[in-house]
């Protein structure tokens, strides 16, 4: 099958965040009431949607299939004639499974709305800005961790998984790594010699810094400050420093400003 140009609805599939999200979208598209969910109609729309995804060879995650199976079962319940005694039995056995699904969907819709509402609040870094807290040193002040128990575990994990490799001589203040600093870090680590790109990046703690440093390497290739070499397809990439770390970095920043202007 030839790859089709992405139709509009396909773009939509990619943003669904789980079966409830998809189901809620379909319920709203069909314009049906969440309090009296017509299961058969919603199930048909849901299955048709999954079929479309399958036709396009899109992987359908397991949780979507579980929901599909549930919907088919609920639909079959709806199609069966109701026994007059069913009502009492249901009361004994608990909630009608169709009502349970509708309730779950209503509950999910509530949190979706709560999320939307959170999103409309003035947010630091998007709508409003604050000053960085002033830090002072003091021996007798009470301390705060600044991280939770998970942060502690992350630090421990970093320590026990860190390979027994020598510390890079160049230390980076990773909290404020700029493109300029990333360049200086790379040049400083190489100090005119060669190094493996993956090793250079692996000492950086976060994905963002690794990406930034990767961009810095590309930028410096363009400027002729470093060279890249790869002996074989998918083999390790060697970086060779061609200038020292005290090169005038304003050229890097100038480029970036021009590129983003």
């Amino acid at each position: 099958m030839s790859a089709p140009a992405q139709p509009e609805w396909l773009v939509q599939t990619e943003v669904f965040d789980g079966p409830l999200d998809l189901l809620l979208y379909l319920v709203r598209r069909e314009g049906v009431d969440l309090r009296a969910l017509p299961v058969a109609r919603v199930a048909d729309a849901y299955l048709a949607y999954l079929d479309k995804m399958r036709d396009l060879h899109l992987g359908v995650a397991g949780e979507y299939l579980v929901m599909a199976a549930t919907l088919v079962w609920l639909k079959s319940l709806e199609l069966l004639p109701r026994k007059p005694t069913l009502h009492e039995e249901e009361e004994e056995e608990g909630e009608d499974p169709r009502e349970a699904l509708a309730r779950r969907l209503r509950e999910y819709a509530q949190y979706r709305e709560a999320a939307d509402e959170l999103d409309t609040r003035p947010r630091v870094g998007r709508d409003v800005f604050v000053r960085d807290p002033t830090e002072v040193e003091g021996e007798q002040r009470p301390v705060e961790a600044g991280i939770d128990a998970f942060g502690l575990l992350d630090l421990y994990y970093e320590l026990i998984t860190r390979e027994a490799e020598p510390e890079p001589e160049y230390s980076v203040d990773t909290r404020t790594l700029s493109l300029e600093e990333a360049c200086r870090f790379v040049l400083g680590t190489l100090s005119g010699g060669r190094g493996e790109l993956s090793a250079l990046l692996s000492v950086l703690p976060t994905r963002r810094e690794r990406i930034l440093t990767f961009v810095a390497v590309l930028e410096m290739v363009r400027l002729g400050w470093v060279g890249l070499e790869q002996d074989e397809h998918l083999g390790p990439v060697q970086v060779e420093g061609k200038v020292s770390a005290d090169v005038d970095l304003s050229r890097v920043m100038g480029r970036v400003e021009a590129a983003t202007a």
């Binding site: 509530q110 949190y111 999320a115 709508d127 000053r131 002033t134």
Partner: protein, 184 residues
Amino acid sequence: MSDNILPFPGNEPPDGLIAALEALLFASGAPVTEKQLAEVLDVELATVRAGLSALSRACEDRGVELAEIAGGWQFRTRPEHADAILKLLDQRPARLSRAALEVLAVVAYRQPVTRSEIDELRGVDSGGVLRTLLGRGLLRAAGRKDEPGRPLMYATTRAFLELFALSDLRDLPTLREREELEED
């Protein structure tokens, strides 16, 4: 002196106090409680409150405003200047994915809550999102649930309140209200 009676004739605290409050809140950056301000300035709580209220009024036409955040007071820029500030700082607006907002909403209203409760509510695995939010300090591990397997529970942090300009978790609209809206 009672906290309910303004300590100044004509309800106006002295300019010196207002200026001192402004300097303190400016220097701190992070929210400062009324109690801390009263201690540092060695004045009554009521005096601080009157001063904050006057400072807040004085900020009406300014580029910054006084906001009640996480139980304290903090200066923040007004939203209408966001574009210019982002341009000056050469930053993109901080983004949160829809999944991240959903997980935050679930935890904010249900805390402390286990991962499987979050997954169940959202109908989808939330592990990766949860991890990102823990890493950003917006959520924290908050003990274990007393049930088989003793799963970890999660709660929102002070940074969560600060990020979304909440003075308190009670500042969030209740889900019940929303339910009523839907019935209309």
